[in-house]
Subunit: 260 residues, 2 copies
């Protein structure tokens, strides 16, 4: 089971941007995701240990930038609006949609406690966020719907993702499928590892395309979380890729074992 | 079927480094691969049309560089030696192994003939070769064995391929599997597109690992080429990933249609 071990922890940690003082068990709790954003202000006040080891706030790669095409921006705006709270009788009410932030590195930890692993190279960066040039590789944002147990990713494929001339590499598409299905699985099931990806490529995707990646929970069976995934044009008239993914829950022991 | 359309053509074109004067049908012939290297000298003499549109020779990314670990270099040397010709009775005799070169872009073409497509961005680069820093992402070399219809890739996973902290992203592993199985399928069947990848992740792969990716022909059925793949430690004691891949042959019409 792939190098995605502890992924959902990484994602929770991504969510914890600026969360100085969040206790570890909160980060490890399955319920943490739902609370993180709303409790940002509170958690900042509790000060126990810093989980964000960098001096400055990291860049959130899922914010709009000048490389985004009008199509990318339009779809982003649509889902971003769904995340806004409604005001009823002077009270704010939030719907089921949340936008997830995205960073290019996660907090380090190792066996025995909360500290930076010396073995994990300081230079390591998340594969999908490893190129600084905006628009060159993966431009994407993930929106999750907790009630419906699904998520939508808006993805713009940059010119450095080429496979066949003028088209997106199958590995780049697989990378986004792994990323989006893994995000949903981690959101729903806590710490997980990818066990299987089964990908049907239906139609070649031109470089520069903006696509929607819809992902939904199929079922959960004990430690297994099954996710489905479809990659299509933004108007959903053209299907590029379909996939299923299987994730296996891992215990906290996996995270703090002698792996590092 | 994925953005790998025309992939094998791209690979043939990779093989055609410096092949000024090769006629197009040679590049499109299923048999071309086997002949390309041995007929290099001859084909240089025939001058019809230049298929390499760049003024200087491109960098072959599969050459050893200073980022390669001793383990990477050792495995490379082993397979590279298998590619050397034997000398018997003063005559050179070549075995079944060949090392494939690897570039970061392929020749452009479009509907109607051999010319650069204006729609394919000049900045496009092959996904697996899109980062200039040596050792940062994918360091790999593919060796093919024509007789046994299989290939071996030596792959060193750089620090920019991170998924879970300290481990290789599942998408990066999928990318290498797509690359290696697609190379073999294109080598055996001519122009192809990836139709399916089914990947079982057995064990997380630490960043910096050097692994072997063994790929072999399972069977061919009309237009379908089935390939198997295993990713393991270099001593093959540890299995990281197993996969099957399906490729579908495409006609020349696909290559020169109105796609661009």
């Amino acid at each position: 089971m792939l190098g995605q071990i502890v992924r959902s922890l990484g994602r929770m940690q991504q969510l914890s941007n600026g969360l100085k003082g969040v206790r570890l068990h909160q980060l490890l709790s399955k319920e943490t995701h739902g609370h993180l954003q709303t409790s940002l202000e509170n958690t900042r006040a509790i000060s126990t240990v810093s989980l964000w080891p960098f001096s400055s706030q990291p860049r959130d790669f899922s914010q709009p930038n000048s490389s985004w095409s009008p199509e990318m921006r339009k779809v982003y705006d649509h889902y971003n609006t769904l995340c806004d709270p409604d005001t009823e009788n002077g009270e704010e009410k939030r719907g089921p949609w949340r936008k997830l932030p995205s960073y290019n590195r996660s907090i380090k930890y190792a066996a025995g406690g909360i500290h930076l692993s010396k073995l994990i190279q300081a230079k390591a960066r998340l594969f999908t966020r490893n190129v600084k040039e905006q628009g060159a590789t993966f431009e994407y944002v993930v929106f999750v719907n907790k009630e419906e147990k699904r998520c939508v990713c808006v993805f713009q494929a940059g010119h450095l993702l080429e496979g066949a001339p003028g088209h997106v590499h199958g590995g780049a598409i697989a990378t986004m499928i792994d990323t989006v299905t893994g995000t949903l699985a981690g959101f729903l099931s806590g710490p997980i590892m990818t066990a299987n990806l089964n990908i049907d490529y239906r139609s070649p995707m031109p470089l520069g395309s903006v696509v929607l990646i819809h992902s939904a929970l199929d079922r959960k069976e004990r430690r297994k979380t099954y996710i489905t995934c479809k990659v299509s044009s933004t108007d959903e008239s053209k299907l590029y890729t379909e996939a299923t993914a299987l994730f296996v829950s891992i215990g906290v022991g996996h995270l703090f074992g002698s792996r590092n």
